[in-house]
Subunit: 346 residues, 3 copies
Amino acid sequence: MTHASHDLTLADIARHLNVAFEGDGKQPVRGLATLKEAQSDQVAFLANRAYLKDLVATRAAAVLLHPEHAESCPVPRLEIDNPYLGYAQLSQLFDPLPARDVPGIHPSAVVAASASLGEGVSIQANAVVEEGVVLGEHVVVGAGSVIGADSVVGDHSRLHANVTVCHGVVIGQRVILQSGCVIGGDGFGFAHDGSRWHKIAQLGGVVLGDDVEVGSCSNIDRGALGDTVIGNDVKIDSQVQIAHNVTVGDHSALAGCSGIAGSTHVGQHCMLGGGAGLAGHITICDGVQITGMSLVTNSIHKPGVYSSGTGAMSNAQWRKNAVRFKQLDDIANRLSRLEKNHRGQM
Amino acid sequence: MTHASHDLTLADIARHLNVAFEGDGKQPVRGLATLKEAQSDQVAFLANRAYLKDLVATRAAAVLLHPEHAESCPVPRLEIDNPYLGYAQLSQLFDPLPARDVPGIHPSAVVAASASLGEGVSIQANAVVEEGVVLGEHVVVGAGSVIGADSVVGDHSRLHANVTVCHGVVIGQRVILQSGCVIGGDGFGFAHDGSRWHKIAQLGGVVLGDDVEVGSCSNIDRGALGDTVIGNDVKIDSQVQIAHNVTVGDHSALAGCSGIAGSTHVGQHCMLGGGAGLAGHITICDGVQITGMSLVTNSIHKPGVYSSGTGAMSNAQWRKNAVRFKQLDDIANRLSRLEKNHRGQM
Amino acid sequence: MTHASHDLTLADIARHLNVAFEGDGKQPVRGLATLKEAQSDQVAFLANRAYLKDLVATRAAAVLLHPEHAESCPVPRLEIDNPYLGYAQLSQLFDPLPARDVPGIHPSAVVAASASLGEGVSIQANAVVEEGVVLGEHVVVGAGSVIGADSVVGDHSRLHANVTVCHGVVIGQRVILQSGCVIGGDGFGFAHDGSRWHKIAQLGGVVLGDDVEVGSCSNIDRGALGDTVIGNDVKIDSQVQIAHNVTVGDHSALAGCSGIAGSTHVGQHCMLGGGAGLAGHITICDGVQITGMSLVTNSIHKPGVYSSGTGAMSNAQWRKNAVRFKQLDDIANRLSRLEKNHRGQM
């Protein structure tokens, strides 16, 4: 699955990482692999001590590793302070997608006459670009994707296939939108008259900063009045919901199936675990981590790791304990009474 | 982001709400905003006492408010019993979408010859309308949306871009389907023969009442034999799953990431919080609220608010308590023994 | 909603199930229904003793049932060891979709010249098949679906409308992909340099075995280096997330809204309840069931049923108990002290 999009050598790799290299620079490199699975034309990396055992037996063409592990490496080495970062940088060289992007508009795509297209834009089969849209340079609009009226997409951003960007959305540079995600659907706003709901037109938009990524089947809803705002370098996994008027600070990361309810503010460098949920109208300060499937209903003002829930156990054990959870207040009161009586006796 | 689709004055606004108004009726109104952010050509509203502090300093063209707050308002006022409802009604005036709906069939759309199209229908670029579909008057089918064979869509309903309505689905009037939602995919039905699964063809359909809204990336699965039925005025947020043969009563609202398993019946005027889950084959009576991320595995026969789970705390504190949860039955038994012994001593 | 795609008789039904039948074999059968709702031209089934009360009053043309219930059946019977399985087999006869699949390429579809198409392939309106794709015999590509470059789809597989299969994905035979699902979006992989994220190109693919089904709006992300691998006969419901480099063993079933984080391995014949979550980098052995909305953060090495969480209760009761949960470690410590003191007294 991992093929080089063009011919590369170990010397190319070393140059790309800007690291010194000893060995046969002409050795072709056709891909990346784990230490264990790497063939003699693949580069591997050691980013976790747990894999030191695989290092000694690796057959890779070369290994990215921290200098402290240099001696244990049986093959040519690429020494680097942060091998995982080096791997990330190398991985880009082997991505087959960019080579396939043909600039221009596929004849089956529908592009409004009033849309403004930057240089090198690629609009693929059956995509739709509506009135007044502005696409920056080298924007890629995948097959079947739709960009609604008056939206703006920054340079070098990529919409994969079947992405929907609704009207009036502003997207930064180098943003990646995975297939099936929806940016700018209506927020969930209704007024109740005592017997039924009345829709509140969602008049705000969505603003995505630079270097944002949004995963498959995730959605970011448009604001009711102001905008929903996602900062720079925010990474959003698949199946994530971000409701109207949420703000997420720069460099935060939201794992799969997490959700943020309306008007909640998340700080910078925050991380939500998979399936975590934030209630609406709360504020999470910078540097907060929420562990998987935790629910947060109050603001958090102190950086750190927060959790809720109970760990998994056998269902038989769980049934007994879950019943007791419903008696917990009673248990605590009985304990207090017993302590009081006991003190009385002493 | 919030622009009037056409020129409106304060007099127009007052007339639309059917309220008395004193002041310069000719003042142009170009949008809505919060009390704090409103400019002199925007109308604001006070729907929550928490914002009384913003009322006294507002620069809005006028403010929708309850008569009891009239004296505190420094600008012209629109007095109304339910200002939030008034805001909802006004918001519709500023929605830019309806003005953009061009009636007719975009040349790139594919519409089966056997489809029946009501007056004023708008079928946008690259949409697909299959055999035997019936679209009511002024139905909008957004770009890239697909309506499967023999489905029916009522008057004034709107499918945003990239919506999928499968075959044999019946959709009421004034229904709004946000981008990426899927109505009528197969329910999750399989028979096990002891070693493998056999698919049960999902032969039922989906029926959506009038005034239903379904959020981005949500899905409502078709029934196995009978239909999955969503009542009138039911509001469904983004990332919601509704399984086969579920019924949801009129006026209920389901927040983001909630899910309802197969054959469960939800009453009228119910509310599911974000991420809440209902097990299959249970019944929830009218007027039940389930708080966020709660799991309900048994039927509920009494209106009220129901919850499960534990509140969030620091991970260090949580780890200690979560371990104790696994000992809870033991703790309860030890407490009972101690109480018994204690009574023996007294 | 449940109509026969062609004319069938009771004799046809009996022959299809390979069971003996006494009665009027020429009786037309126009569909399936529950015991309670079946009309005289519909076949019903009894798969659960709870419905024995409906059996005695049924008006069905015939009933599928276990021989032990034969005596209670007032209408012609089709005796079979596993009536639910029989119902699954019959249901296929009444699915209206296959009859609608017109072989060939709709003129609005875009199919790359380098794609290879098996016999009887049906590519519907506005679908896109990119360079190098290989479609087996009788593959159906629904309206608006996109298949990315170099992907392979096995014989008799069906993509419903608006499905996205990204590049380099391998799909087995008889696979069913419901609308809105995404196979092969990028996994959530980023390296942090101390201040910001760097994307790790996701160079692996996705491999789906034979007889896999994926529900509406679900996603299976591509691997970082190796592939994400879904075994044969794995059934995946709607709104499910499967992260990069996950493996799921044959015959497992994942209910709606469940999620599996990266590099986790799930065995064969496992079942995830709705909304259940598995943390990353863990291993679940064969034959494990996780109940609804449970979170599993450690590997499981023993077959059985596992759970986490707390049952739902009234919010008033819950508030008291949830507060006590935060004191649970303290409660346990106080109980131990009391027990110690008590023993000292005795």
